[in-house]
Symmetry: C2
Subunit: 150 residues, 2 copies
DNA sequence: GTATTCTCTATCGTAAAAGTTGACAATGGG
DNA sequence: CCCATTGTCAACTTTTACGATAGAGAATAC
């Protein structure tokens, strides 16, 4: 699962992408329309601006904007910035590899082999989706099914 | 990320799959070869046996075995049992849908639209991989790259 | 009856996640 | 120059989830 913070970050970035080229967007504008606790959002935006993908200006008429054109920011980038990795297990990350604790040797680990495939599929999708993409929300009802018996 | 518990569960199930048809496997056998804290493993195996995918017998020569043939258990099933969902956000789960807290309306949520795609791709892979599959571990060195600047 | 092995509920400790506080610094306008 | 506005930052609190353990109990085999 993505953390709440990562989800906030994604929505904030989408908001800035929508208003790209319109000058500084004040934090409260993002917080209100995206339903994000304002103070927490300051932490998130500071973090993103340290990476350079968000720029900011203080004072009257200040605010935030994308430091990079929306077409150059993928959702994969965002998730990597916020949580370090796209993978489901640390040992299956390609950019932030870590050996798993209490595991078997990596060279013998079948779970890792599977999770590398999942990571690659996920990356294939998320690295192809950009902040500039027009995305049609999926109607809420769609895709709900009963819980499956296992 | 998958929780440690989920990873333990997967390895325990792989172990039982390897020994399918060989009678009850004692917990300590699984714990030792798979490097899982024994006491914690009791919790995990109890949980799995409540779902019927693991069977057990107490007493001398007791132990655990798969309650279902390994070909009928997918990795998708395992992850759903352990963590409820394959999705990266609660609102993108197809079998355990929940609305996200502090989010925008689902019908307006672009993140959800993206994450449904990711979920479907993940499910496409994991629901096709079975405990009976012969899996070749990937050599540990493979797939390590430098951290990318974002 | 005794050793073995699983069962179950409760509980603990820690770390991470989520969110808040408050002092501070820059900017623009009167 | 003062003041309102808006971002910056480090420290802190609160909450929650996770990982793990404890310990009493029940079935089974010999």
């Amino acid at each position: 699962m993505l953390s709440q913070k990562t989800r906030y970050a994604i929505r904030a970035m989408q908001h800035l992408a929508d208003k790209y080229g319109q000058g500084p967007i004040p934090l409260t504008d993002i917080a209100e329309t995206q339903n994000i606790p304002a103070k927490f959002l300051t932490v998130i935006l500071s973090e993103l601006s340290r990476y350079g993908i968000v720029a900011s200006q203080r004072g009257k008429d200040g605010g935030y904007w994308l430091g990079v054109p929306p077409i150059d920011i993928t959702y994969g980038d965002l998730i990597r910035v916020m949580r370090g990795s796209l993978a489901l297990v640390p040992c299956a990350s390609r950019f932030a590899h870590e050996t798993c604790k209490n595991c078997v040797e990596e060279k013998d680990c079948r779970t890792r082999a599977l999770m590398l495939q999942v990571r690659d599929a996920t990356a294939g999708l998320l690295d192809g989706m950009r902040l500039s993409d027009k995305i049609d929300p999926v109607p809420a009802a769609e895709g709900l099914e009963a819980v499956e018996d296992v």
